[in-house]
């Protein structure tokens, strides 16, 4: 019995291959976009973990130079003598590779991901030419070192590990250390740090990778996109399954009438769908792999540029996301088919066997969906007003998008009903009425289009607003024509003396890393200069803010610190042991993940006399920039990396920014393509079911070509209405992203700008997609042989 029943069920797909294709393709696309994003995320996270394991980041306390510079061998020796169990580390760039030198005998984490033993022989590591363990992708860049090169895939991408002595030699920084790793178990009675090495500051272990936490927000955005794309795909699957069940109602009744028990039938249909889900899931995961492999280089570049995180530019196949892709495909199918199976379970055996006219059943359902959509939109409003945290932000997004998708058929029906009342003439009247009747069958595809378009409008608004703000912010902040970095305090002093007579202004950049409002941050000392007064803009500030700052009577804080700590003007901030100043201004600081506070230079020098400026911003006549740069190189032997041109820095920053959103743009296009596909499949599937409705109109005198033209016009009109409705939804989405999600994820709020030309272009694309999707079914209809149309009547015997 089971085989016979299953063969009858499966034969449906053999006779309706397009429907099967829709189902498999929808599910595969949904899985592909979701698992592609997961692949990128899991690859990036694996890279962070490798980096954390290599560098001991987050796992151990570390000692850093308080002035942000390097640590001398003398400080290290002084600390060891004072009883501190610390291990030296040097880091630098060699031929573009991040070279990390460790002392394997004292490092608490050993060699991180490289186990000594086997190829990693400790004797060879420490003696002779030495050994360098490097990620395979950078081995070729280290051939000139003369050391034995060993490929170590577990080492972080773009990184190499070697003995500290060899690293110092290769980096030409003998006797210089970057930081000291503090062993977890320290002997009692050691000298306090302030006495043993007053120039150093302790950074506590953070229980996880710094990079991982910094990039979490970025990955959160990607994950949100993955879910959105998945939702669009599930709309397609839901549509395909719904239509398939609808068309199979007579078969289901016949099977039951012939003796197939209902529970067996449900089980068989569930098994059938599970089989499809596994097949589509595997295709989807494979496609996701291709998408991820295509996008990963841009993601890697973004993460490197934005956060300094190295991610492998090539993709590894990880079993977890392969399996999770399959689970998601199955889960999506359950989500999409649950309703249909439930209806089947409740369908009386003697229910009408004719395919239910969807429009007839749509009345009650529309009211239910309308109510549900109002509830969801209300929830979105409530969460936006009163919710806190990132989860509430994404909850707002989800409720807004799903609520709008559910409201779409109701709104479109009202618009079409209005059009019907305005129509003159019998053909127009039929067109509006017939379009209303088609609405339930097309509503899922239109909802997918609505979501895809809203996501496009929302994300492009966010990105363009971000870009505009960021560009303005760069102009505001990068006003010095040249930025110069000195290697040590003596060189810094000489540099300052050299450039002072040649520049309009010399602006030293001094900072210390310290806790600000109970979180790690950076305190800057800023010179009182007209340049700052003319260029800086504040989100909020007291009157005459620069004068107050110059008197040392206040502190400026960045927006993310103010939001995180709940600071507003007048609130005190501790800037040094026992010194608190009121907040006098809050400034935007886009792209900076940590808190930043600024006090005046004179006060800074008083509070932190040990800190000297090693970085300077130089205000110059733009035409003097090349000559001064050359003079600095010639007189001080400064490498090119120590002299940064403002224009180059801005171009670099904008490039980093643009690459950041390449991924988002690519996902946008893919989501829109998926929605276009949903439209095409719905129209093609409906085309077959339309004949009984169109044949009478044809028999009454309308030509087949006219019917085809009407079908095309109908699809374009519905897409146009959907596009119009997508605009406010997209802007709502942008507002949630900018004013809620961004604030929760990054700590800053961006102003929202509107880009009408972009929206018009997007609308045009949507109409083109709808036209293309409707063209084929319309042409097929226009070419339907009269015999096929006549068969509609003969079947009614």
């Amino acid at each position: 019995m089971t085989r016979a029943a299953l063969s009858a069920l499966l034969s449906h797909w053999a006779r309706n291959p397009l429907q099967l294709f829709t189902l498999l393709a929808g599910l595969a696309l949904a899985t592909a976009l979701w698992s592609g994003v997961q692949a990128i995320n899991s690859e990036a996270r694996a890279s962070y973990d490798a980096a954390a394991a290599t560098l001991g980041e987050g796992q151990f306390d570390q000692l850093l130079a308080a002035d942000g510079g390097t640590i001398s061998q003398a400080d290290y020796i002084a600390l060891r003598r004072a009883g501190w169990l610390v291990s030296p580390v040097i880091e630098g760039r060699l031929n573009g590779v991040r070279l990390v030198g460790l002392d394997v005998l004292t490092a608490p984490g050993g060699l991180g991901p490289v186990a000594l033993g086997g190829e990693a022989d400790i004797g060879a590591f420490l003696s002779g030419g030495g050994q360098i363990f490097a990620h395979p992708d950078v081995l070729a860049q280290l051939t000139e070192t003369g050391a034995e090169l060993i490929a170590a895939p577990d080492v972080a991408p773009g990184t190499a590990i070697t003995d500290i002595g060899l690293a110092q030699r290769l980096l030409q920084r003998e006797g210089i250390l970057t930081r000291l790793i503090v062993a977890p178990d320290q002997p009692r009675g050691q000298l306090p740090l302030a006495e043993a090495a007053p120039r150093l500051t302790l950074r506590a272990a953070q229980g996880g990778s710094d990079i991982g936490r910094l990039t979490d927000s970025f990955h959160l955005n990607l994950t949100a996109f993955g879910y959105l794309a998945f939702a669009v795909g599930i709309f397609i699957v839901h549509g395909a399954i719904g239509l398939a069940f609808e068309q199979r109602r007579p078969v289901v009744r016949t099977l039951r009438a012939l003796g197939v028990p209902l529970n067996r039938l449900i089980m068989l249909m569930a098994l059938e769908l599970a089989g499809f889900a596994v097949i589509a899931g595997m295709i989807g995961v494979a496609m996701g792999y291709v998408i991820a492999a295509g996008l990963l280089p841009d993601v890697a570049a973004t993460l490197r540029g934005l956060y300094g995180a190295d991610v492998a530019g090539s993709l590894g196949l990880r079993p977890m996301w392969f399996l999770s892709g399959l689970v998601v495909a199955l889960g999506g199918t359950v989500l999409a088919a649950g309703g249909a199976l439930w209806q089947l379970a409740r369908m009386p055996l003697l229910a009408s066997a004719q395919p239910r006219a969807m429009a007839i059943a749509a009345g009650g359902r529309a009211r239910l969906l309308g109510g549900l959509s109002m509830l969801l939109l209300g929830t979105a409003g409530a969460l936006a007003l009163w919710g806190t945290g990132l989860v509430a932000g994404f909850g707002t997004l989800a409720a807004l998008l799903i609520g709008a998708a559910l409201a779409l058929p109701v709104l479109l029906d009202r618009v079409l009903a209005f059009g019907q009342t305005l129509s003159r003439g019998v053909t127009a009247g039929w067109f509006w009425a017939d379009t209303r009747q088609q609405l339930p069958g097309l509503s899922l595809a239109l909802a997918a289009l609505l979501l895809a378009m809203a996501a496009n409008v929302g994300v492009s608004t966010m990105v363009s607003s971000f870009r505009l703000t960021f560009s303005g912010f760069l102009d505001q902040r990068l006003f010095s024509e040249l930025y110069v970095y000195a290697d040590d305090p003596a060189q810094a002093a000489a540099l300052e003396a050299f450039v002072s007579p040649r520049a309009t202004a010399v602006l030293p950049l001094m900072s210390v890393s310290r806790d600000l409002a109970d979180a790690p941050g950076e305190l800057y000392g800023s010179r009182d200069d007209l340049t700052y007064r003319e260029n800086w803009q504040f989100l909020d500030a007291v009157p005459m803010v620069w004068d107050v700052l110059a008197r040392g009577e206040g502190v400026l804080v960045n927006e993310q610190m103010a939001r995180r700590a709940g600071l507003s003007l007048g609130d005190p901030v501790t800037v040094a042991e026992g010194v608190s100043l009121p907040v006098i201004g809050i400034h935007g600081d886009y792209g900076n993940p940590i808190g930043q506070a600024i006090i005046t230079e004179t006060l800074f020098r008083t509070l932190y006399p040990e800190v000297t400026a090693s970085r300077f911003g130089l205000r110059l006549n733009p035409e003097d920039v090349p000559a001064i740069s050359a003079a600095l190189r010639d007189n001080f032997g400064l490498p090119a990396a120590n002299i940064i041109n403002q224009a180059a820095l801005k171009a670099f920053s904008m490039d980093v920014f643009d690459r950041t959103f390449t991924v988002t743009a690519a996902l946008n296009v893919l989501t829109l393509a998926v929605a276009g596909f949903a439209m095409l499949m719905s129209l093609l599937t409906l085309a077959g079911m339309r004949l009984p409705q169109l044949a009478p109109v044809w028999s009454l005198g309308m030509t087949r070509h006219s019917l085809g033209r009407f079908e095309l016009a109908r699809a374009v009109m519905l897409a146009l209405l959907t596009a119009i409705l997508a605009l406010p939804l997209g802007l709502g989405l942008a507002w949630v992203l900018l004013a809620i999600v961004n604030v929760e994820a990054f700590g800053w709020r961006l102003p929202m700008y509107l880009f009408p030309a972009d929206y018009a272009r997007l609308g045009l694309f949507a109409l083109m997609a709808a036209t293309l999707a409707a063209l084929w079914p319309a042409i097929r209809l226009a070419r339907t042989p009269p015999a096929v149309l006549l068969k509609v009547f003969s079947n009614e015997r």
Binding site: M1, R3, A4, A5, S7, A8, S11, H12, A14, R15, N16, P250, V251, R253, T254, L255, R256, A257, L258, G259, V260, P261, L262, N263, L349, L350, A353, S794, N795, R797
Partner: protein, 218 residues
């Protein structure tokens, strides 16, 4: 006695409360006997047929078919009955559109584990369906589709064939031809036949007629 129906009642919910359709029907049918169930529209003919076929449950009364008390069966039991003991021929044919004619004919027999390709081939040949075995139902005329439905039912060798207006969608000549073939084949299998019809002409071809009026045997 193959079929024994006693004091069957059945109502359907209506706007003003339950609407009685059958109000205590008694009916018997012997093996090999053919019976026409006639009556006006709404007299309860199809409802009675559905109850006997295990497609629905009575409100009250008993139905015994081949010694099986239908009114005591649960859904699974009634499904098994439909697979093995009764065969229903519907006015709308209810063929499976995605299966070819040959697969449709063998379908119910396969469900009941009684697949007999020779018998199915004989039926196809007797019903003039042999040239159409590789076609899909939609490629056949109405008369041909009804013959496929008859073949499907008889291929499973049910003890009782229930036919609900089996020729209602056919013209008079085709209806006569189909009915004649169906009667011949039912006689050959030794099954009982209970046919619902409006047509007194077709009812005359049965060995016995029962007329229903307002939910009661007239």
């Amino acid at each position: 006695m193959l079929l024994n129906v006693r004091q069957i009642t059945k109502s359907y919910p209506g706007a003003d409360g339950p609407v009685p359709v059958l109000r205590g029907v008694d009916l018997d049918l012997a093996a090999g006997e053919t019976l026409a169930l006639t009556g006006e529209s709404g007299s309860g003919k199809s409802t009675l047929l559905h109850l006997i076929g295990g497609l629905d449950r009575p409100d009250d009364g008993t139905i015994t078919l081949d010694g099986i008390a239908l009114h005591e069966l649960d859904d699974g039991g009634r499904a098994a009955l439909r697979r093995g003991v009764v065969g229903v021929i519907f006015q709308q044919f209810n063929l499976i559109p995605s299966l070819r004619v040959a697969a449709n004919i063998a379908f119910q027999a396969r469900l009941g584990g009684k697949d007999d390709p020779d018998w199915a081939a004989t039926l196809a040949q007797r019903l003039g369906l042999t040239p159409h075995l590789a076609k899909y139902p939609e490629q056949l005329s109405g008369g041909q589709q009804q013959r496929v439905a008859i073949a499907r039912t008889l291929a499973a060798r049910p003890k009782l064939v229930l036919a609900d207006e089996p020729t209602g969608n056919l013209d008079e000549a085709t209806a006569d031809a189909v009915l004649s073939l169906m009667l011949d084949l039912v006689h050959e299998t030794g099954a009982g036949l209970l046919m619902v019809t409006h047509s007194m002409r077709l009812a005359g071809a049965m060995s016995r007629q029962v007329h229903l009026r307002a939910g009661l045997v007239a």
